[in-house]
Symmetry: C2
Subunit: 375 residues, 2 copies
Amino acid sequence: MTTSAPQTNPAERILMGPGPSTVPHRVLRALSCPTLGHLDPQYLAIMDETCEMLRRVFHTKNALTFPVSGTGMAGMECIAVNLLEPGDEAIVCVNGVFGTRMKDVMERCGATVHAIEAPWGETISKEQIGAALDAHPKAKLLGIVHAETSTGAHQSLTGFADLCHAKGAMLIVDAVTSLAGHELHVDDWGIDAIYSGTQKCLSCPPGLAPVSFGERALAAMDGRKTKVQSWYLDVSMLRKYYTNPGAGGGRVYHHTAPINMTYALREALAIVLEEGIENRIERHAIMHRRLRAGLKEMGIAYIPTHSLHTLNCIHIPAGADDATVRRRLLEEYGIEIGSGLGPMAGKAWRIGLMGHGATQRNVDLVLAALLEVLK
Amino acid sequence: MTTSAPQTNPAERILMGPGPSTVPHRVLRALSCPTLGHLDPQYLAIMDETCEMLRRVFHTKNALTFPVSGTGMAGMECIAVNLLEPGDEAIVCVNGVFGTRMKDVMERCGATVHAIEAPWGETISKEQIGAALDAHPKAKLLGIVHAETSTGAHQSLTGFADLCHAKGAMLIVDAVTSLAGHELHVDDWGIDAIYSGTQKCLSCPPGLAPVSFGERALAAMDGRKTKVQSWYLDVSMLRKYYTNPGAGGGRVYHHTAPINMTYALREALAIVLEEGIENRIERHAIMHRRLRAGLKEMGIAYIPTHSLHTLNCIHIPAGADDATVRRRLLEEYGIEIGSGLGPMAGKAWRIGLMGHGATQRNVDLVLAALLEVLK
């Protein structure tokens, strides 16, 4: 390597995998604005606006709604380490990579985690939830993935919060691939804590994990007997920086926030609110149906019974070589689609229709490209 | 709030606080390049180059050198959670905010942490290190801050590794405010694990934490009896993504890396290597001396006996109002300087001369501005 490296000039991909999704120019422009200090009044105003816009997109009034300084998985970990202590019990729904991971993350907090299982691609029923809560009455929380990015399954959450709350358990939701792409109402649905990522249906680069904590979660955190095992993700300190303590209070420095990523997230959220959340969700539904119809004509079937609109997990057609097709899409069309994860490796493709990328232009292009490459 | 938020247009500050430092346009431009997927061959090449450039700036051959997906403190936590297990003993040097924090972070890993203390602003002596290692022969590691951002003290590390290694302990170094601003030779100095941030002397926005692990650290990780308590920062998985497994191997997805921040870090490192690491360090020394001379003429004294070049921690002159002066510098000059932290709040200012901001132009301007504001 010479001292002088060539300039960074990445290709202009069309990102139709499981995320990141293609980032609009407006967001990239915001990302590159001059860096402010993390205690600059201008930055604090931008951060407050960002948190307020996050509340609107999450449909919540939760004061403690902010972007964690890490990618989506840091959001999962933030919720786990703050809500669980050694000796706690938890229930996690496992029907894909991210449920499996949530169980692992929670076990690393010293909790005993009981799994509710369903085959990959399937969803968890209300009956299963009820039975698990009955079987494990001490469970402090129940964790579930709303949009399983590994299988494309869309998990209904209807009635789950009531079941949890009746047993004194919190409902924790992974909304990494659903926020701003599927219906999601944190307050109306009784969700007690939720996390997402910026690089999916918000179409912002990866690097932040929006989270929101409701009253039950605050009470659980206030009632902790032990320190949160992660200093970096300790909400008892983070809240002194992220939530405005009001007149007479002050912001307490915790760590240096990722300033420029906050600019980008703010712009991405502004775009969501300009389009209208409901319009955006409807657009995702329309594009999903268009893609599904096109794939059906090609004889390509979906894996999950209840498919996400945002991520389309499909069977690799007989005779097609997984790696070759994906490589040709990338090289000949600049289109990225995702491979199968875990037991679905080599058997599934995952086509993302997320945020800025969920367009008729992209749907028709990826169908045309697949037709050509599968010839 | 209306649906349509105004554009993000932060002011163009001159960042002369404890970090972030002012980011050069080249880095902001790289930051805003189109987002690639985290498994795209183009992205993997950019990441590999970034890691290779990090090795050069750290002066190390450590294969396991990469940017953690979080700000500087995520780097501290990454090293703590991977190298320590419940029941371990550690020694941490405490003479400011960041040593205090390192002790806290390591205790949260279940370790018993013995402190070596010095007054804030002072440094730790070789004799203290030797005595602590004698007193705690089971210590697995000794943690020390090379550049204490809260006090401006510059800690010599000469001979420390030999003392540690003779007792079977690893030497762990916080180089957040020294990397690329002060002499730092990871391999020659026998440092076993080190972390830094991007937003100081690398002049990249905050959001990544470069880390490097040497042979002893790898052996300690391989010898663990328990899982790393943080899934997000678990190096046993991260290394399968960040280190190239060579021919026939493959990258194993762990989490979605902060793609655009990697572009920015790569560009920031390219700038460091173009200038030359030694030239850059010398520039920091020259600018520090220029600032010190100017402050001396104004009757303003330094707090630490051994001052960093990168961060100048000075006594607030008698009669000056801390908040008013900092506010006027920000409003009238667009200059940010730092306030005192912890016991130094209201007693100290911290003037950063880091990376892109360590220039004669900035030194002379901040001196002129202080003269005016202190009139």
